[in-house]
């Protein structure tokens, strides 16, 4: 079965584990983790991913910078991006979406919400 590849870009190991735990309930997905924006950029430019969950506040390179760089790459335009962040203000959400994020989730996350977003962006049933 063809696998969907999902990248989790998050500096908190707790959050990475929680997201991976939720996403593993999807059939046919492979989950890769990155611990900061630069690590995430290296991974998306060297390998194919269908979807990325990106935190905003990260060391080395923050999530917004990463998203703008991803959307600047022609071959990454179709990759789904969901922001997961503590920033709950409307302006933060609008900024992330204007930079190219497809969805915006705030912490603390609900696993069923994460799954719903993943299914929607991967176009799964």
């Amino acid at each position: 079965m063809a696998k969907h590849r999902i990248l989790i870009v998050e500096d908190s190991p707790t959050m990475r584990q929680l997201l991976a735990f939720a996403l593993k309930r999807l059939k046919g997905v492979e989950i890769i983790e990155a611990s900061d924006g630069m690590d995430g950029l290296r991974k998306v430019t060297s390998d194919h991913f269908d979807l990325a969950f990106v935190d905003i506040n990260m060391p080395v390179m923050d999530g917004l910078k990463l998203i703008s760089l991803i959307r600047g790459e022609q071959n990454l335009e179709s990759m789904g991006i969901c922001v997961i962040t503590t920033e709950g203000a409307k302006e933060d959400r609008e900024r992330a979406l204007s930079l190219g994020a497809d969805e915006y989730l705030t912490k603390p996350i609900q696993a069923n919400r994460v799954l719903a977003v993943a299914k929607s962006l991967l176009k799964l049933e």
Binding site: T14, L18, T86, G88, T106, K107, P108, Q110, A111
Partner: protein, 276 residues
């Protein structure tokens, strides 16, 4: 003369057209009449086959009424079964949602517990506690206090949302934080998302005591929740209980490990000195 002949010709054609339309209309009527006659003959034939006499008609009527009653009864039974199945489906759907939520909550608790016990480094344990409070509980301003050995003062050791030195040390048994640690009971203001006007020096909205074997180790005091968090849920209360036990154990274990490492290094150095 020629005009009169021309006019006569036009009138003739008009009359002919009228007669032709009349003919077509008559043909349609005759066709419809024939169709209705056939239908009537069919119905009369069916009537004749069904009943030859008034008694036969009555018998046929009764049979049809009985058949209708039977079908209505079957319909009611099927509708009842359908309602029962729909009700069961509704219950299953509700139960599925409950179980999914329980599953999600258990996953959160598992991850928190796993991370707390995944390290013996005291600074790493503190980092994990901070991550859990931010990412799983959704706190914006909080402080982690630790009570040094042989001390009755809770010292702030990690903070988020404010500078560490903005949080004052807390005496064991005094104030909301000190009392919760002394008693081992979580002090929580349900429904509150931010502490009072005294800010981080005031009463926190939740104070989680960290204790191991009735020994006070520290506390987590939350003063403000993230903007998008409207209050504490059942899962949050479960996390408070988990942190009260597991975070305390993690701190205690990491402290013991650090002490034993130091002692081991000292003893090793002493042995090296003696054997050289």
């Amino acid at each position: 003369m020629s005009d009169g002949v021309g006019n006569g010709g036009d009138r003739g054609e008009a009359v002919l057209a009228i007669f032709q339309r009349g003919t077509e209309f008559t043909k349609e009527l005759l066709g419809e009449n024939e169709r209705l006659r056939r239908a009537l003959n069919e119905i009369e034939g069916r009537q004749r086959e069904a009943a030859q006499s008034p008694e036969d008609w009555e018998k046929l009527r009764q049979e049809l009424i009985h058949r209708i009653c039977h079908l209505e009864s079957e319909n009611r039974d099927i509708m009842e079964q359908l309602r029962h199945v729909e009700s069961e489906n509704h219950q299953f759907a509700e139960r599925y949602i409950e179980i999914e939520e329980e599953n999600n909550n258990l996953a959160n608790l598992y991850v928190a517990s796993y991370q707390l016990h995944s390290t013996l480094d005291p600074s790493e344990v503190l980092r994990v506690i901070v991550e859990i409070v931010i990412n799983l509980i959704g706190a914006e301003v909080f402080c982690v206090y630790v009570c040094p050995e042989d001390s009755d003062v809770l010292e702030p050791v990690a903070a988020e949302g404010a500078e560490l030195d903005a949080f004052s040390p807390q005496k064991l048994g005094a104030g909301t934080i000190g009392e919760s640690v002394a008693s081992g009971v979580v002090a929580c203001i349900d429904g509150a998302t931010t502490a009072g006007p005294d800010g981080v020096d005031g009463v926190p909205i939740v104070s989680i005591p960290l204790r191991v074997l009735d020994m006070p180790l520290g506390a987590i005091a939350v003063h403000k929740l993230l903007q998008q968090k409207s209050g504490f849920s059942a899962l949050d209360h479960e996390l408070f209980t988990l942190l009260a036990g597991h975070a305390a154990t993690a701190i205690f274990a990491s402290r013991l490990y650090a002490q034993s490492e130091r002692k081991l290094t000292t003893i090793q150095g002493f042995i090296d000195l003696l054997t050289k």
